[in-house]
């Protein structure tokens, strides 16, 4: 296990390193002086130059930058005077995390449930109904479904607030828009996985034991179908994160995703860099956790891992 973990951690570290380096040099490639737009205040420009050591050779700049990163220093925002990137993350990330987590967990569970129903009722109406929903869910990107829902629930039915952040009602619509892709993806993945599991020989063994259908499904089919789906968790998390860029801007939620989109529109390069690195590191960490979870769920992998150690 230790060796397996070590390998995963090393790859994760390498990923973060590559990301940080790539971000730095990509920023260097941006045409013009990213710090010298007309709207930027002089003192801000000066502080940036000093912080990045812009008058020094590139290698030295790179080292300064990496050193700052190691100390958790992501620099200053260009447009929001006096605020560090870390400040902004500290303030906005909890909002995104709350929305994202809520949305993700509910969406995962609903997706599994739908997938199980589809597989068990294969070729009957619940399967068709849920698969139509799943296919539509995949075909409807958040920028399409968001305005439609806001119009329906916010303007026509007046059930839910159209924008804002704070109350539970305000969270429902964005969480649904954010989670729709995950629900749809998981429904399809669970359906496919379970249809595969259902034809496995050991399911026949379980049936031959005289177990009721519910026990065969939950005890034998579900867990074995879940193992391959763990691999989808990583992309799923990434998907929710990407979705948060759109959803938070659309519903005016003061989360990190909205700051990120704003920073791109405002060409606030230090904020873009800082958030890119933060997002990257965050995802790499979560993927690492998923890998570990994967090892624990499937005893064969756990064993192979022990054997290798």
């Amino acid at each position: 296990m230790a060796k397996y973990l070590l390998q995963k951690v090393l790859i994760a570290l390498a990923t973060v390193f590559v990301l940080a380096t790539a971000t730095f040099f990509m920023m260097k490639l941006i045409p013009g002086d990213p710090f010298a737009s007309l709207t930027t205040k002089i003192e801000v420009q000066e502080r940036q130059r000093e912080y990045y050591g812009l008058d020094k050779p590139v290698v030295e700049q790179y080292l300064t930058y990496m050193n700052n990163l190691l100390h958790g220093n992501l620099g200053y925002s260009l447009k929001k005077t006096g605020r560090t990137v870390v400040d902004i993350i500290r303030e906005a990330f909890p909002v995104s995390a709350k929305l994202g987590l809520f949305s993700f967990i509910i969406a995962e569970l609903i997706g599994y449930l739908f997938g199980i129903l589809c597989a068990q009722f294969r070729g009957k109406w619940p399967d068709y109904l849920l698969m139509i929903f799943a296919v539509l869910g995949i075909a409807m990107p958040s920028m399409v479904i968001g305005p439609l829902l806001r119009w329906l629930f916010g303007v026509v039915l007046r059930w839910l607030p159209v924008t804002g952040w704070g109350s539970f009602q305000q969270m429902l619509m964005p969480a649904f828009v954010l989670g729709l892709g995950t629900i749809a993806g998981n429904t399809r993945a669970m359906r496919a996985s379970m249809l595969g599991t259902m034809t496995q020989d050991y399911i026949m063994t379980a049936q031959a034991k005289g177990l009721p259908k519910a026990k065969v499904v939950m005890r034998h089919e579900f867990k074995n179908s879940l193992v391959p789906l763990v691999a989808n968790l990583g992309p799923g998390i990434a998907g929710v994160m990407m979705g948060s860029f759109v959803v938070e801007s659309m519903f005016l939620i003061p989360g990190l995703g909205r700051y990120f989109v704003d920073s791109i529109t405002n060409l606030d390069y230090p904020l873009i860099m800082g958030l890119t690195i933060f997002y990257g590191t965050f995802l790499v960490t979560l993927n690492l956790l998923v890998d570990v979870l994967y090892g624990f769920l499937d005893p064969r992998i756990r064993e192979a891992v022990k054997g290798a150690a």
């Binding site: 063994t205 034991k209 005289g210 177990l211 867990k223 064993e303």
Partner: protein, 345 residues
């Protein structure tokens, strides 16, 4: 026969496939007596496994359906039982050992839980009692370190051990009937012998009757009291094991027996095998299904299906039937005891 515990009468099963309805089982009848072991033998795809799985309601493909017949277990037709009633019998009064211990065990569950699960399903028992029972049964099948092995996952055990686990699972409720679907095929030869011995000894200890499905005549010889030979969804010959081995009457049975390696015949030749393939059961041939592969095929064979002909055993006068025109009195009257029959008498 009052001592009959399980009887299959005229069972018919078809599978709806893309190309058409496959008539996998075409009117099969057999019975099992108490404390008896019967063998259903034939090539793969002849319908022997499907017969059993349908009999206990375990269709491997959902498109399979019973088109007729009955399966009488202790006098009640289990095909007409409710789902719940059937489940109460399954794993409890009737259980099954499957072919491949590598794929028939759940990979993400400890073998202990898999064994206990059966007991807990059919008995009002605590987990602790189930565990004790599981340990008992593992000792009975002489699995080493039962305590430790209960906590293991299937992939941590060898093939022979896994097959013992399958047997433990099947026997924990002390069933009246045990089906064994090719129980030794996936195992090494040495392990095969161990499993055969184990099953023979368990039959006495647990007081069960066994239906063995196999294509391995060697295993049949070591375990079985009576044999049903199945070909293309039909029983083509039936008799006492001794009769089938020493006085087979159906050319297909001859073929099966010839393809068993024998130590007492020192020939350099390759083992003979039956040429050709079984017929397409979407449109079964009108005549004898074996006609196309039969060395002794006659004019009538391609045209009309042979009736089941009752033969008297030359030694003890017990039941022996064969569905072959060669055994028909008309044939014997015309051709006499032909040369090919003599070779097998």
């Amino acid at each position: 026969m009052s001592d009959t515990i399980l009887e299959v009468r005229d069972l018919r099963v078809t599978f709806d496939m893309y190309q058409g309805a496959v008539q996998a089982v075409r009117g099969v009848s057999w019975h099992l007596n108490r404390r008896e072991t019967i063998g259903i033998v034939g090539e793969s795809g002849c319908g022997k496994s499907v017969t059993i799985k349908t009999a206990i309601g375990l269709n491997p493909v959902s498109s399979g359906s019973v088109k007729g017949g009955e399966v009488l277990f202790e006098g009640t037709d289990i095909l007409r039982l409710s789902e719940k009633e059937r489940r109460d019998i399954l794993g409890n009064r009737m259980s099954m050992i499957f072919q491949d211990p590598f794929t028939f065990l759940n990979p993400t569950m400890t073998v202990g839980r898999q064994i206990m699960e059966v007991y807990l399903q059919h008995h009002k028992a605590s987990r602790r009692e189930a565990r004790e029972k599981a340990l008992d049964i593992l000792r009975l099948i002489s699995l080493p370190n039962p305590e430790e092995n209960l906590k293991r996952y299937p992939h941590q055990l060898s093939g022979g051990m896994r097959q013992r686990i399958m047997i433990a699972m099947a026997l924990i409720c002390e069933p009246a009937v045990l089906f064994a679907d090719e129980p030794t095929t996936a195992l090494d030869v040495t392990i095969q012998a161990q499993i055969v011995d184990l099953m023979n000894s368990l039959k006495e200890k647990v007081d069960t009757s066994i239906v063995l499905i196999t294509h391995d005549m060697g295993v049949v010889a070591k375990m079985v009291d009576r044999v049903y030979v199945m070909y293309a969804g039909k029983i083509v010959e039936h008799g006492e094991a001794q009769t089938i081995f020493h006085h087979p009457r159906h050319p297909y049975t001859w073929g099966l027996l010839e393809s068993v390696p024998r130590l007492d015949e020192k020939t350099q030749d390759d083992l003979p095998s039956i040429p050709g393939m079984p017929p397409d059961l979407i449109a079964p041939p009108a005549g004898c299904p074996f006609a196309a592969r039969c060395r002794f095929c006659m004019g009538i064979c391609g045209r009309e299906a042979p009736p089941e002909i009752r033969l008297t055993d030359p030694e003890d006068g017990r039941d022996h039937t064969a569905s072959c025109w060669l055994c028909h009195p008309e044939c014997i009257a015309r051709n006499g005891k032909t040369e090919w029959r003599a070779a097998h008498d």
